[in-house]
Amino acid sequence: MFKAMKLKVKKNKVLLIALILLIIFSLNFFQENVKGFFYSISSPIQVWFWQTGDSIADFFSIIPKALVLEKENEKLNMQNLELLAEINSLKEIKEENFFLRDALMVGLEKDFRMEVAGIISKDIGQDSIIINKGSKDGLSKDMPVISGQKAVIGRIEEVYDNRSRILLISNKNSFFEAKISETETAGLLKGNGDGKALLDLLPKNENIKQGDLIVSSALSGLFPSGLLVGWVEEVEKGDADLFQKAKVSLFSRINNLEQVFIILDF
């Protein structure tokens, strides 16, 4: 009798666990509400953890880099001088441009309408981040997300009331059309996971070099044209392949980012 009672208790516990699992899976029907609720209550503590983690990670990332910093500093100083000279010449062109626009009675082009949002968490394995703005702030699915330097970060994948999940361009499910800035050669930019990406389907006859600048193309309709994406790190060209592809070093490094811009319309 004792054995039968013990068996009954065990059976009840297994049933209870099965019931809990069933409840958890059924919560997927209200996933937005459930996740939205937890995101909203944990927002202050998440922001604090994110900022603290960011500053600690920044501090530790300096140590291994210390050896190469001197050389890099020298190189950057040189680049800085070149850029200053370029800025100067661009300023002159800009002034000339303003003058010509006035003269031609042409209004300035409208910039993108944008919304600023703060990053509050990151899912490193899934190459996605969560920001502190949602549908209440006018955000909706598939809106492009960029950094302050106009570098493409990703697009909105899920929208909650006060939060949104951004699918980074390094995510394996992300792909859009991008082009090499100099040659206008278009290709398909595919996320490769772990903060990396590939520019695929590039015509084999095009001469693509390491360091070539990659910008977004408006053809896919996902991003406005001309936003910075990255530069070519390595070109892969097989004899048997129909196309060539390039490993891309992305401009958007979310580890150092605290805020992003969402383009509301373009």
């Binding site: 809990i20 699992l21 944990s42 530790f60 990151k122 899934q126 994948e157 999940r165 772990d194």
Partner: protein, 99 residues
């Protein structure tokens, strides 16, 4: 056991927030230090109550799912399988010695 489960809920919630917002900065080769998985494994190895280990896997997995891009139940299932596997191994092959 009920008291212990009540304590586990805020502990796992805090670990999930830490996992998503703090440890996300310290990734090594694309993976981050996972305190939720570690705690579930430790509970299942060192606490002899079988159902407590199972319940801890469910709670831990649930909060992990809340802060990840996966559907609810994904990590619950993974942690549950790990917990059941550990308990089977302990039950069949490990004999506790109290001497």
């Amino acid at each position: 056991m009920f008291k212990k489960i009540i304590i586990l809920i805020p502990v796992f919630y805090l670990l999930a927030v830490l996992h998503a917002s703090f440890f996300a900065h310290f990734g090594i080769f694309g993976s981050i230090f996972n305190l939720i998985g570690l705690l579930v494994i430790l509970i299942n190895v060192f606490i002899p109550e079988a159902y407590f280990g199972i319940i801890s896997a469910i709670i831990g997995g649930f909060f992990w799912d809340i802060f990840s891009a996966n559907f609810l139940g994904y990590h619950v299932l993974i942690l549950l399988l790990i917990a059941i596997f550990i308990q089977l191994i302990i039950k069949k092959y490990v004999r506790a010695s109290f001497i």
